[in-house]
């Protein structure tokens, strides 16, 4: 209870679901051997943290930001550039953290303060514009970022797959640097999510919700909403940057498509809405559902598409093509905003988690 900051899942099904997900993630290296399963599990962890940080903004302050991938990208690129330029050692990782997090913080502060100076309604549009400029910048400054190709790099010795701690003889597969990296990612993400739970359940988090419900009333009650919103922006940005760092470490690569693309922003939005806004737990559920679907549903669509084209049906093969899976997600997204605005978590809890 302490560790959950006094905000338990409040639904039996939800608790079971969360326990299953967490156990599965913990045991992935042992029960689902193979690179793909581990990749999927790591991605779920990273996105759960990333989406949770986004939930702090969307669900708890009610502001839509399209710049979240920018912070994610800053983290990714900080690791990539540093390890690529300074060599694969821990000092480079430290440099990346020391440079990346303050950069993310400063940018969040700048956007926050600037947006607060202008009308609230501009926020979503401004963040979209800034994020797209950042994307262009990252793909154009190729001397630094590797341009469209991105940057691949080597990890510090300890995290490399070649570093074997326990040989094959024990589990039938070696416990190596890769698995260590996985657990590093898993525990860091868990920590971030618990930290976010702590934040939203602190008095600060309650003020955020008060602001979301009625900004004027919150102001009338004497809260400096400007300060609170900017602070929330900064926390979310720093956590997104951390998630980006883990993402780069896991992929041993950073590029526009894996960290900055608009499509990732859409993925985040989908996950947060499907999971349930304003719950933090929704991030875990949303990330798990979404990433599992992304990795395994596409195979299913491929089969369906081939079947449809063999049956000679018009249009369907194109619509069911695995590349079109975003189309179905888009429809799912609209449907969930419309029919289940409270997401899976809200549904399971039985009463609206976020009011209205």
């Amino acid at each position: 209870m302490m560790i959950l900051s006094g905000d338990p899942p409040r639904s039996r099904t939800l608790s079971i679901l969360l326990v299953v997900i967490v156990l599965a993630l913990l045991a992935t290296p042992f029960i689902f051997p193979g690179a793909k399963a581990l990749n999927v599990a790591a991605k779920i962890c990273i996105f759960a943290a990333l989406v949770a940080s986004y939930d702090l903004l969307l669900g708890y302050t009610g502001s839509v930001s399209f710049a979240h991938t920018m912070f994610y990208g800053i983290g990714s690129y900080a690791i990539a550039i540093s390890l690529y330029g300074l060599g694969p050692n821990w000092a480079s990782v430290a440099v990346a953290v020391a440079a990346g997090l303050p950069l993310a913080l400063l940018l969040a502060l700048a956007i926050g303060l600037f947006s607060l100076r202008v009308e609230a309604i501009f926020f979503a549009m401004i963040t979209l514009a800034v994020a797209s400029a950042f994307l262009v910048l990252a793909s154009q400054l190729s001397w630094l970022t590797g341009g469209e190709d991105g940057r691949s790099f080597q990890l510090p010795e300890l995290l490399r797959p070649g570093t074997v701690f326990i040989g094959k003889e024990w589990f039938g597969f070696p416990i190596n640097g890769r698995i260590l990296t996985y657990y590093l990612v898993l525990s860091a993400c868990a920590l971030m999510i618990l930290a976010l739970l702590r934040v939203v359940n602190s008095p600060f988090g309650r003020v955020l919700q008060a602001i979301r419900e009625n900004r004027f009333r919150a102001e009338a009650l004497g809260y400096r909403t400007v300060f609170h919103l900017t602070y929330a922006n900064c926390i979310a940005a720093v956590i997104a940057a951390c998630a980006g760092m883990l993402n780069a470490l896991w992929l041993r690569y950073a590029g526009p498509d894996t960290s900055l693309a608009f499509s990732i922003m859409l993925d985040i939005l989908l996950m947060v809405v499907i999971g349930g806004m304003g719950t933090i737990y929704g991030a875990i559920i949303g990330a798990a559902i979404f990433i599992l679907a992304q990795n395994y549903l596409q195979a299913l669509m491929s089969i369906a598409s081939t079947a449809a084209s063999e049956a000679g049906l018009p249009l369907l093969p194109g619509l069911l093509h695995p590349d079109r899976w975003l189309l179905w997600l888009g429809l799912l997204f609209i449907a969930s905003v419309y029919f289940f605005p409270t997401g899976v978590v809200g549904r399971l809890r039985g009463k609206p988690a976020a009011k209205h």
Binding site: L128, L327, I334
Partner: protein, 336 residues
């Protein structure tokens, strides 16, 4: 009704012309920086033409927001759809479009543009009913729903037209330039400029001279009172939404011809530009939108010529600068 002579007038509020002067001043400032007069003319015409196209795309968005407080994040999809639909006419009739006669060219271009506007206008109807109306008055959900609409529209276009870039060659009669001394002015840019101006004037006339226009302006200021006078503002809004969508479609056709190619991603690319224009202009203001579009295009063209590296972030810098000066955009209309 007979004309009533006002026996007196109140001092008109001083017309706020500083924003109007902004593009002019910017263009003049660029003369010494650009150096050669012919490049300056070319750049300026290019800016104005591009500005007009962006204005056409953005005008609907700003009115839709001003009138009903609706933020349509899927607006860019209409732009891309407009361009795609035009290729349905332009490509099969390529021989007409490439014939060396202006009339034959127009005989295919005009129907293509009209078809695009028809389709995007009709889609506007669907979007308003399905995505906007159910979440009317809730910004957060509006943004989410219309963003979802954008994904669906984009993916449908990929499914229907394929992921490849579709060429959209300019009709023969619009290729090339008029040469005046050592200044070359592209014919198509001139045409774009003309169309943009016509649309701007038409919108201004409708807004200022017709009862519908009066209702729109009144509705932007106070929606409730318009209803209390007995007008169904929802219907008015639907009309504005459809017109805005159709204009976005037209803008898409013009942009496709300008770039001579179409791809579903132009929606994303232009959404950002259009948003910046709408923010700079002040949500709800047509004049602001017009100036904003020209400014954005000028910064892109002059900036791209003078400091190509800066072009990447120049729009953001412009937006920051304008909002520092006027936090609500050049002309703030709504009191909301």
């Amino acid at each position: 009704m007979s004309e009533i002579a006002a026996t007196d007038t109140l001092p008109k509020p001083r017309r706020d012309i500083a924003p109007l002067l902004l593009p002019v001043v910017l263009a003049l400032l660029m003369i010494p920086l650009v150096g050669s007069a012919s490049s300056w003319v070319t750049l300026t015409v290019a800016s104005l033409a591009m500005g007009m196209m962006i204005f056409i795309m953005a005008s609907g968005l700003t009115l839709v927001f001003g009138l009903m407080d609706v933020l349509n994040f899927g607006h860019g999809a209409f732009i891309a759809i407009g361009a795609y639909v035009a290729t349905l006419v332009l490509l099969p009739l390529a021989s007409w479009a490439q014939a060396d006669s202006l009339l034959t060219n127009l005989a295919v271009l005009v129907p293509a543009a009209l078809l695009s506007m028809g389709v995007t206008g009709a889609l506007g109807l669907v979007v308003e009913r399905v995505l906007v109306l159910p979440v009317y008055g809730q910004h957060l959900k509006q943004i989410l729903m219309t963003t979802g609409g954008l994904i669906v529209a984009e993916q449908t276009m990929y499914a229907l037209f394929g992921p490849q870039i579709i060429p959209m060659p300019l009709p023969a009669a619009l290729r090339g330039s008029f040469i005046l001394g050592d200044v070359a002015i592209s014919k198509y840019r001139l045409l774009a400029l003309l169309i943009g101006l016509v649309i701007f004037v038409a919108i201004e006339l409708v807004l200022n001279r017709t009862k519908i226009g009066l209702l729109i302006r009144a509705g932007v200021e106070n929606r409730e009172m318009v209803e209390a006078l007995g007008y169904r503002i929802r219907r008015l809004f639907l009309g504005v939404f459809m017109t805005g969508s159709a204009l976005a479609g037209l803008g898409g056709v013009m942009w496709g011809l300008y770039r001579e190619q179409v791809h579903a991603s132009i929606g994303d690319e232009l959404t950002v530009l259009v948003f910046i224009v709408v923010i700079i202009g002040g949500l709800g203001s047509i004049t602001g939108c017009f100036i904003g579009a020209i400014l954005v295009a000028m910064v892109a063209n002059y900036g791209g010529f003078l400091v190509p590296k800066l072009a990447l972030v120049s729009n953001i810098l412009l937006m920051v600068a304008v909002l520092m000066w006027r936090p609500r955009g050049l002309y703030a209309v709504t009191s909301r």
